[in-house]
């Protein structure tokens, strides 16, 4: 099997311990991110997308834990590494960008100090001068002028801080970048500049980028493939064109119709009934069935597998799968 996957998660589950018991924030999710692509991971608040992003880096801390699954990173199962090995592995191979750069940067460290510290922590053999030269190279590539190297984080604008965050993520030549709501605090023009830069880096450096966001329009603009989560499970995954042009899962269908589009003439948005469920007591079987316009008897009894519907386009929905025999005779309607 030709493997251009940088990372592949298999049946990953994460549970949080709460007073009401264990809550499945991520439930049996599989996905892969390929070299040279941006995978957009979308879903509403509480769907588990951020938890999944953290789980891929094994950054899950008490009161949460990964209860099941494997994470393959270029042939290594990350679940078998010790915490110490994992920390070193993460530092060298995975870069992270979070929503609020101000909380991720040290307020009393200059930009250049951040970069040198990052490089020298993981590559102690590098001299200060070489690390400095590499830092200067990096910021130049990211469109930060060299005279900003000696600035403190508070002296930079929001967009510049996010660029510093990518430079830190790339300082050790990471293969995978996980950007969790990285543009949410940016204004629309700066956001557009930032994602243009991400796309360019992805192409030039052959990176794999996971872009976690609630902004569906943004994903349509930059992602090669799209994954849609609902209530802790993967609802649908496929190429951006397939998912946006022919969404399979009824949740994706509703979600996409509810997104405002500035180019369309219509003056009303589609209104999806209900709201996402509470994960303490989610609906049985397919978690979307109480809100689903195509609900069938089987949907409240058996969880559909997340499997290929056509080509590279996967979904977890009984509309595209063979319904078990005992529910077949009552199957009504057919495709959406």
């Amino acid at each position: 099997m030709p493997d251009d996957n940088v990372i592949r998660a298999e049946n990953l589950s994460v549970q949080y311990k709460t007073r009401a018991g264990w809550v499945s924030a991520v439930d049996d999710v599989s996905l892969e991110i390929r070299r040279g692509e941006i995978l957009g991971l979308v879903g509403e608040s509480g769907c588990g997308k951020s938890t999944l992003g953290k789980a891929l880096m094994r950054l899950i801390r008490h009161p949460a834990r990964i209860t099941n699954g494997h994470i393959w990173f270029q042939g290594i199962d990350l679940m078998t590494l010790s915490d110490n090995e994992m920390r070193q592995f993460r530092g060298r191979n995975i870069g992270m960008i979070f929503q609020d750069p101000m909380t991720s940067l040290n307020p009393i460290q200059r930009v250049v100090e951040h970069l040198i510290e990052t490089i020298r922590t993981h590559e102690p053999a590098v001299s200060d001068e070489d690390a400095h030269a590499r830092a200067a190279d990096l910021v130049d590539r990211l469109g930060i002028s060299a005279n900003r190297l000696d600035d403190y984080p508070h002296q930079l604008s929001g967009g510049m801080r996010q660029r510093v965050m990518i430079s830190l993520a790339l300082a050790l030549n990471a293969d995978l970048i996980i950007a969790d709501e990285a543009t949410t605090s940016l204004d629309v023009i700066v956001e557009a500049q930032f994602v243009e830069l991400l796309q360019q880096l992805c192409r030039d450096l052959d990176l794999a980028i996971l872009m976690i966001t609630h902004n569906i329009g943004l994903v349509a603009e930059v992602a090669d493939r799209v994954a849609v989560m609902y209530a802790g499970r993967m609802a649908e995954m496929g190429s951006a064109c397939d998912v946006f042009k022919e969404p399979l899962h009824p949740y994706t269908q509703g979600l996409l119709k509810a997104v405002p589009n500035i180019h369309l003439e219509e003056d009303e948005l589609y209104k999806m009934e209900g709201s996402p469920p509470d994960l303490v007591s989610p609906p049985p079987a397919c978690r979307f069935h109480p809100r689903c316009p195509h609900m069938m008897p089987v949907c409240s009894k058996v969880q559909p597998d997340f499997e290929t519907a056509r080509g590279d386009h996967r979904t977890a929905c009984w509309l595209y799968q063979d319904v078990p025999a005992e529910y077949q005779d009552v199957r009504e309607g057919s495709k959406a």
Partner: protein, 344 residues
Amino acid sequence: MSDNIHDHIIEVRDLKKYFPVKRDLLSSLMGVPQQWVRAVDDVSFTIRRGEVFGLAGESGSGKTTVGRLVLRLLEPSEGQIIFDDADLSTYSPEALRQLRSRMQVIFQDPFASLNPRMRIGEGIGHGYKIHIPSSASERRKAVEEIMEHVGLTPAAQLYNKFPHQLSGGQRQRAVIARALVTRPELIVADEPIAMADVSVRALLLDLMIRLKQEFNLTYLFITHDLATAKYICDRIGIMYLGKMAEIGDLHDVYKSPAHPYTEALLAAVPVPDPTDRREKHLPTGEIPNPINPPSGCRFHPRCPIAQQVCQEIEPELRPVEGNPDHLASCHLRTGDYQHLAPSA
């Protein structure tokens, strides 16, 4: 839409709001001059009774400050705000208090704007208690009625819940109910749905449009999201660094933006259609510091078509192609220097 186009509920004239920049003791002793953040710098516009007037721009454009000035939560440095034919600055404290029930506000974060220790019903009725002499049972009736209107049902049951027991969408409905309970004429809505998820957002927008008709409301709708504004606003003003860059009917502004900044903003809005990926001509850089804004047209350092004149002279709002309802402040598009505009 109003029958009489001159029926203005709000008229803002030459409005300015400068905030002082903090100086340390040493600088003030040494006579370092006081600096000012020019959050709102000479802005004029009108809001017609019954319309949704959008105010859009990036962070730091001054849109929220304008909203607060209109509510008179802030005192203007200069300029006037005429509400219903009377200048707000001339209102006596008592008149101002009465005025509060006629203009209400909805903020972005419903969790931060509801008292976590107050039951939803009490929170909604609080303004009613202050403004309208009433018995407890009258108040409860009024609150439950407004809760039904905004879809907080069953009202009798939700009345006694605390904010943390409601979903995000329900909390925002409670904030809307609280704003409506005194039956205001004007609502200043500052990013009212920015925190809501996509599937909830459409429901809230729809609710706001329905309530506007039911209660004869006028909205000042402050937003950074031009795609959402399209579904609710009748007219829109685009602000940049404390100035009004462009103002007009939403369709005119979106279809034929005259100010290069409006063009850039519209182009930057993500489009949820991967087959419609168009090349964006984005301006470089970010919104500059409002303490020392650029000379001339404040957008000139980022403007793709800027000429010498744009650095030197500040442009005024002028009609776009003779349309008195569509104004833009650009030398090269609406001003005296149109002959200098580079051809596209």
